[in-house]
Amino acid sequence: MQNWIGLLPAFPLAGFLLLVLSRGRMTKTVAGIIGAGSVGLSFLLAVMISIEFLNSGAQPFSKTLWMWMQVGGLDTGFTFFLDGLTLVMILIISGVGFLIHLYSTGFMADDPGFARFFSYMNLFVASMLVLVLADNLILLYLGWEGVGLCSYLLIGFWYDNPANGYAARKAFVVTRVGDTSMAIGLFLLFSQLGTLNIQEILLLAPTQWSTGSAVAVAASALLLGGAVGKSAQLPLQTWLPDAMAGPTPISALIHAATMVTAGVYLIARTHILFELAPSVQLIVAFVGLATLLMAGFTALMQRDIKRILAYSTISQIGYMFLALGVGAWSAAVFHLLTHAFFKALLFLAAGTVILSLHHEHDIFKMGAMRRRLPVSFWCFIVGSAALTALPFTSGFYSKDAILLAALDHPSYGMLLWVGGVLGAFMTALYSFRLVFVVFFGKSHYEQRDTQQHDDHGAVVENTSPAMFFPLLILAILSLFGGLISVPVDAVFANGALHEEAHASQFLHALMILIPILGVMISWLLYGSLSYEKAGAHLRKQLLVSPLGGLLNRFWFSGWGMDKLYQTLLVQPFLALAQVNRKDIVDLVFNSLSYVARFANSALVLTQTGNMRWYAISLVAGLVIVIGLGVWR
């Protein structure tokens, strides 16, 4: 079965080709079956492969499909590599991917671009599978760019609206900055080690580089650049909130469960390089910490249901980076897994809410949806609980592991831990703010254009099996996913899950209690029956105070990063482009022709057409020439 590993990305790729070549002539049923079915087949194959893999003692396995390019010392195959880490990733991608595809058949049912949607989705799944299966960095880069492209296409899926196009371009260009850094990292690795095969690099690097050597630092920093871009960490996080312009299933699949975690995967995959560069690893931890706090604060101020979830995603990936930074590789992967479940669940549930409310995104225009949208409500409760890491949900186990690992960090343990716990508190605050505002309190929902849409205007929850089933499965996984053990210990020599806690009982208890405290405060501010009175009053007090207002605006705008980049990079670039539209180099050469033309118009004056003038000039020339000869 493992020999068929090449079929994993081949199924969705075939689905993509079929959908593209049919040029939209398929019925939606057929397109849906091909789109979702191909990923489903991949998932089945992935399950069979993993059974075989685990039964055979988790031996890493690689298979070369064909020789890609072989130039001098560069020897790159289309080779897939399978170990515990890859296994977790392919199961997430194909499994969660399949569920989201299934959900999309319901969600997108009325969209005219149905087949196009599924073709992009299939291409995405194929690229993502190639990314995680790649045994060399070039192939990984192929998947890496492929998912970026699909992300671009899907964010801008509703292309009528230029804002969507802007968001899509922003996503692609910002991640491309990271990608370029990663590509340079590849060049550096190759020029130093002479190979781009990941396993060979991991073997060679420790033998050739000493810990903390400049090359190791440069290489891992460049790879980190790629990871930061893809995973929307500081300072390249600005694209992800805008990426919510795409259809909600996209946000669930690409911008929550899979693609954005590719950075985490990359660092985990090349973890030996990062171990060789402790300074960079520390940067990873602090990038994670800064990002999770920044995103946590920002999420608290957002009004758009999807942007809240987007910032929450950035924040959770921040946790994963934190884990990577402190060397808790397994914890990071574990959190990646649980996050995929609960964040996909939250996005899909949000999608249901949005669909039911006719594409209303503003949470303050919802309210009291508990009765009207029971399925979404319960999904949100489960998902938020897991996100907040309430005890015994899946998120609890993974976040717990991360925080304990952070505490173990030799020099900055306490700082990282406190930051992480503060982040957990913020997480509780904003995620339950979302729940309380949307599902409790009074309804603020106004049906738009009720006259025109008599039968469409009502708030009716779509609970077709295609949409209900994925939610159910994901809810179950979000609750109990913490019991899964990720088979990655063989991959990471050190940094396995910390079985025994080194933290004191007090700290451990604090860690568990803080999120609950967060939920309670959130209830006070947004959820209690006095929400309309006391909570609102309190919030108003906070906002009216100068500092509060400033912070509100600052956090709402995502800490002003967008504005910063706009002024520092985008506007100068545009201005420069505007100024130099005509290409200044051209002017240089054209000036030559101006000189020639000027000389011409000067010399033309000598051409009077008067014969005697010509004769005189002739004689004058003669006199001069003879004079030169005679009176030298």
């Binding site: 005189i616 004689v619 004058a620 003669l622 006199v623 003879i626 004079g627 005679v630």
Partner: protein, 160 residues
């Protein structure tokens, strides 16, 4: 012979200057003929009787007659003569005059580096003919071609 040379030279000079300053075309032509004839005399004095003959017959005879015919055809009257007088302004002569004086100075300064006297020994028709029909045959043919071309061109140009 020396006397003949210098006399003819003075006549030629005077006649030539008269040509370029006269306002009447026909008068100028007559002066030109005188100038050409005196040059023919100089040729004779230099011992080139064949050249002198040709100068007198072809230049002063044929070519100048051609000129005369054309002048008669054009029939330039008194008006032209007045016009000529009007054009004949001294300041027009300053520029060309200086240039030409310079040129003359240059030429004389080159020529006076020579110091050879010519003893006019007659070079007869025979010598010339030997050369013309010997080494210069091709040039003669070319000259005939040139004349032919001139004939055709003149015919076409003068046609209405």
């Amino acid at each position: 012979m020396i006397f003949l040379f210098y006399t003819a030279a003075i006549v030629a000079l005077i006649a030539t200057i008269a040509v370029i300053v006269s306002t009447n075309v026909v008068h100028a032509l007559v002066y030109l003929i005188i100038s050409l004839l005196s040059v023919a005399v100089i040729f004779f004095a230099l011992g080139a009787p064949f050249a002198a003959m040709l100068e007198a017959i072809v230049y002063a005879g044929a070519i100048m007659v051609l000129f005369l015919f054309v002048m008669m055809m054009l029939n330039l009257g008194q008006a032209t003569q007045d016009e000529e007088k009007a054009w004949m302004q001294p300041r027009l002569w300053i520029g060309p005059g200086t240039l030409v004086a310079l040129l003359l100075a240059q030429l004389t300064s080159v020529l006076f580096t020579q110091d050879v006297a010519i003893s006019p020994v007659e070079v007869g028709v025979l010598d010339i003919s030997v050369l013309l029909f010997g080494p210069w045959l091709l040039a003669v043919e070319l000259a005939s071609m040139l004349l032919l071309a001139g004939l055709v061109a003149a015919y076409h140009l003068a046609k209405k």
